[in-house]
């Protein structure tokens, strides 16, 4: 048994440590996920003007500031009693800038954070022993996904073509947000009751042009099959089976055309999505398509006990109508709220079923599984107690352990796609479950993110060119007195998953309580009071540290994939410390 620890897990947002025990067969038998920062964030909002929250909570995360800004603005709409009257064109502006941010965030994750691991030398070692096909596949992987400043065997490796092309595209997407929001990150355009800037006809034209440029990148690098054909046959397919068949048939055609020449290049029709969809999975690649090798990413990062895991979505993106119901995100959101169990059964989302445990976190009163609004936690102030090496029975993280109905909850693209019954992702999840794999695994998690990116690109075009009316109303006034002795709830979906902000104000209209439940807390959570591990921990235990080739404790690339497949955001996970009651020093909670 070898202790294999990754600390820090880089190429994520924030600072994360993954500690594992690994047997001689390379299988992980125990794992702890630790978030390494304590920041004391929401405390700074206490006794302040509630309106500041939408600005300042954006600073929880610089990668998804808009999601925090919007969850906060939803809570403020509720606090000031204007949620039901926010004009529809203001809601479209919010949709557009969140949609653009989610696309940019996913693209960054796929190309800059996750992608570089595909150029790991472990794959070179295995693939280059597999003759011409293996060599061709390796050359594509390193040629597309190698990161900046990368060296292998002492020699500098040129930056990958997809990586390199993605950086200006990400920049372009952020520019599109800035056009309607002032700047990115840290935009200034959110305010309860509406939006501060009505995009003009000129802006719409520019946004459309940005759109075409981004789609040009997509067609050159990401998806070689026609984009609309893809959407029609996957997102809009009449059944999950049809969506999966469309993709496997498309990949089979491609492979039949290019297998004899061993040409897996973009020019030959292998976009990054097609390439990963085929070569990333053992089931799809080897068993269905008959490829000689695959990365077997569907064999790691899965859940072994369906009773301990579920997939949670709070719901995001407004429908095109005036006002919305802040307390019922299921009815008037495009991405619905909901819960899918580990056995892929659908349930209604009930916020009352959320509890939190601090049994394994660095807080003094680590005891009961309380509802988010009730718990109180005092952080360790003794430096000697902040130790990360005590194992699964110890306290080992600044993250708390949120649970839904006693289960760990995966949030994010895979949870959202399952909850809206997106045909391709649902079909893949079912296919994996039926063939002895976990429905959720590194591969389905990544494909869900890719598919969500495509869906958002499709919906964005509608919001920009069809729904939004540049001559429409952009805001309704708020009455600051409404906040007095009132509270507000904002449920939303960040790129990384379900995000909730809650606010209360006192008789002076100032903040008395502010709290968040964020995706990072769900995904990276340590064990709870019953010893149930968090989603990342569950996915690590029972998985191999190397999916292909020999066991290599010094290059546990499987751990890198599993950790990064969740797109961890540790700043979010640990920066969400709420206020519990007025003027209550040293009582705070991490959600």
């Amino acid at each position: 048994m070898v202790n294999v620890t990754v600390d820090p897990l880089t190429r994520i947002e924030g600072h994360q440590r993954i500690s594992t025990e690994v047997g001689a067969d390379g299988v992980i038998t125990d794992a702890q996920s630790s978030s390494l920062i304590f920041r004391g964030f929401e405390r700074i909002l206490q006794n302040q003007d509630p309106r500041d929250a939408a600005f300042l909570t954006q600073r929880i995360c610089g990668v998804c500031p808009l999601a925090h800004g919007l969850a906060s603005t939803n809570a403020l709409d509720d606090l000031y009693g204007v949620a039901e009257s926010v004009p529809k064109d203001a809601l479209m502006m919010r949709n557009i800038f969140q949609g653009l941010n989610m696309v940019a965030s996913h693209a960054t994750h796929i190309y800059v954070l996750f992608g570089p691991d595909l150029a790991n030398p472990a794959y070179k070692k295995v693939l280059t022993t597999l003759g011409d096909t293996g060599n061709a596949v390796w050359n594509e992987m390193v040629g597309r996904f190698a990161p900046i400043s990368y060296k292998m065997d002492g020699a500098a490796v040129p930056v990958g073509s997809s990586y390199l092309a993605a950086i200006p595209e990400k920049k372009r997407l952020q520019e599109a947000i800035a056009l309607i929001a002032g700047r990115m990150p840290g935009p200034s355009s959110l305010y309860p009751g509406g939006y501060t800037y009505p995009a003009t006809v000129g802006d719409i034209t520019k946004l459309s042009t940005y759109y075409l440029q981004v789609m040009d990148f997509v067609s050159k690098h990401t998806l070689k099959v026609d984009f609309n054909t893809w959407i029609k046959n996957t997102y809009q397919a009449s059944s999950p089976q049809k969506a999966v068949s469309f993709v496997t048939e498309h990949l089979t055609d491609l492979y039949n055309k290019t297998s004899t020449s061993n040409d897996f290049s973009k020019d030959a029709g292998w976009g990054d999505v097609e390439f990963y969809a085929a070569f990333g999975s053992e089931l799809v690649g080897e068993k269905i398509l008959g490829l000689p090798a695959s990365l077997k990413h569907d064999t790691i990062g899965g859940y072994k006990d369906p009773a301990k895991i579920c997939f949670v979505s709070y719901g995001g993106y407004y429908k095109y109508k005036d006002g919305y119901d802040p307390k019922s995100p299921a009815g008037d959101r495009i991405f619905t709220s909901g819960v899918v169990t580990g056995k892929l059964e659908y349930q209604k989302f009930d916020p009352e079923k959320i509890t939190e445990s601090t049994a394994h976190s660095f807080y003094q009163n680590s005891s009961n599984d309380l509802a988010p609004a009730k718990g109180e936690t005092v952080p360790y102030t003794d430096p000697n107690k902040i130790v990360y090496t005590g194992g699964s029975n110890s306290q080992y993280s600044w993250d708390k352990a949120p649970r839904y109905d006693g289960m760990a909850g995966e949030v994010g693209p895979l949870a959202r796609m399952l909850n809206i019954k997106e045909p391709l992702v649902t079909g893949l999840a079912q296919a994996f479950a039926e063939n002895g794999y976990s429905a959720a695994n590194v591969y389905t998690r990544m494909l869900a993110r890719m598919q969500e990116t495509a869906i958002l690109a499709y919906e964005l075009l509608n919001w920009v060119t069809v729904d939004y009316n540049p001559n429409g109303k952009i805001s309704v006034p708020i009455d600051l007195n409404t906040a007095k002795n009132n509270s507000g709830m904002g449920l939303w979906e960040a790129p990384r998953g379900a995000l909730g902000h809650w606010i209360s104000a006192g008789s002076d209209g100032k903040v008395t309580n502010y709290q968040c439940i964020v995706p990072g807390s769900w995904l990276m959570s340590p064990r709870d009071s019953k010893g149930i591990p968090g989603p990342l921990e569950q996915s690590l235990i029972g998985s191999k540290i190397n999916t292909v080739g020999d066991v290599d404790y010094t290059n546990p690339v499987g751990i890198f994939h599993m950790g990064r497949s969740y797109d961890p955001c540790i700043s979010c996970a640990v920066h969400t410390i709420d206020l519990t009651g007025k003027n209550a020093p040293n009582t705070l909670r991490i959600l």
Binding site: P8, G14, F38, R39, G40, R43, C61, Q174, Y191, T381
Partner: protein, 386 residues
């Protein structure tokens, strides 16, 4: 490479021999506001490469307690983008936690593999070789009890990492409000004294409480504040340091202000208000009181009159917009002590003057009957500050 007009080409030629961080504001605004980072760095590159090959410079970029927004911002750099800029300047981004291929890999508590895959071994090698530029993003917790254990990365308090990295650095650049003075991590709260967050060289406005001083390390630090920092500010400053256009430490006292900010980007005699796209509305006394209008945002709490930065001329994200252009008040995120110094964000500030002028009086006069005349008067009075 972007196309240059003849006028700009002439301007570039006259600038070739000039150290831009030493320029006065007017010259700089004319030059950089117009031509941008790409032309500027590109010009220097061609000049220098033709004479002598630009030696490779190593950049070590470390992350404290942060939101990664400043790295995001630098990734948004356009013309040149980050990769192009590094190429032009022959920079080796030797370590950057969000971008590097490496990660910390430990077997039974010991570092394994090589610097090609292990970030901790890589960092140790970089420290040992020395002669690198250190960039710090994020705040540094001193708590609890001076241990720094509220942020531990790779089994080491970040406070200690900063010390090891700073010791052998040729230059230290703090990027973003958190690294400069603690920023949002250092905001007033009932836990602030426990967390005890610091900037690299300052805590809020206090130079005596910077983390390097706490560690007993005496190194000059350049502060590039902002929440986030503008990519041009970061790349141009790094460019000037790398190209030897600014000598450390000899030139620093002349090019930096009292908070170690390069005066060209954060001019003491110039505020965002001066070049705000909504300035005309202010001058006419058209002050919006609800969001979504076209007018001046002063009544909505805009802090542009107190923010010493060139946002108004430079704009953001490929110069497409800026905060006030999109109808949100400026939050003066470049000032030491942000966000406390700017809160409450949506309430107009009445007690601070601008460059010797009492803006409150000016604004009140401006909304009076003789709005236009008062506006003109206000402009003249504001102008005196220059």
């Amino acid at each position: 490479m972007v196309e240059m007009s003849t006028g700009i080409k002439n301007l570039v030629r006259t600038l070739d021999s000039v150290d831009f961080l030493k320029m006065d504001r007017r010259t700089f605004m004319k030059a950089l506001g117009a031509m941008g980072a790409a032309t500027f760095l590109g010009t220097y590159k061609s000049e220098i490469v033709s004479a002598l090959e630009l030696a490779e410079t190593k950049l070590l970029w470390i992350h404290g307690s942060e939101c990664t927004g400043c790295s995001e911002s630098v990734l948004n750099a356009g013309n040149p983008d980050l990769v192009q800029a590094l190429e032009k300047l022959n920079v080796n981004l030797a370590y950057h936690e969000t971008l590097c291929a490496q990660q910390g890999i430990w077997n039974d508590g010991k570092l394994v593999n090589t610097a090609e895959l292990n970030s901790e071994i890589l960092q140790e090698e970089i420290y040992k070789e020395g002669n690198y530029i250190l960039v710090v993003e994020g705040g540094i917790p001193n708590g609890p009890d001076g241990s720094g254990r509220y942020l531990v990365i790779g089994n080491k308090p970040f406070k200690q990492t900063l010390g090891e990295a700073a010791k052998n650095a040729a230059a230290v650049v703090a990027v973003g409000a958190c690294a400069c003075w603690g920023g949002i991590t250092n905001a007033e709260s009932d836990v602030a004294k426990d967390t005890d967050y610091r900037g690299v060289a300052f805590s809020k406005t206090e130079a005596s409480k910077g983390m390097l001083k706490e560690l007993g390390i005496d190194k000059p630090v350049i502060n590039i504040p902002g929440c986030p920092a503008h990519p041009d500010w970061v790349l141009l400053t790094l460019g000037a340091v790398i190209l030897g256009k600014i000598k450390i430490p000899d030139d620093l006292s002349a090019v930096l202000d009292e908070y170690n900010r390069p005066k060209v980007f954060f001019p003491p005699d110039h505020v965002v208000h001066d070049n705000c796209p909504r300035r005309g509305y202010y001058d006419r006394g058209e002050l919006d009181e609800e969001i979504g209008g076209p007018g001046c945002l002063w009544k909505l709490g805009c802090k542009a009159p107190y923010a010493h930065a060139d946002c108004g001329i430079r704009r953001w994200n490929g110069s497409v917009s800026m905060c006030t252009q999109a109808g949100g008040p400026c939050i003066a995120c470049v000032e030491p002590g942000f966000p406390d110094s700017s809160r409450p964000l949506y309430v107009e500030r009445e007690d601070v003057g601008v460059a010797g002028t009492n803006i409150d009086t000016v604004a009140k006069v401006a909304v009076g009957a003789a709005a236009v005349a008062a506006g003109v008067h206000a402009v003249r009075r504001m102008g005196k500050g220059e």
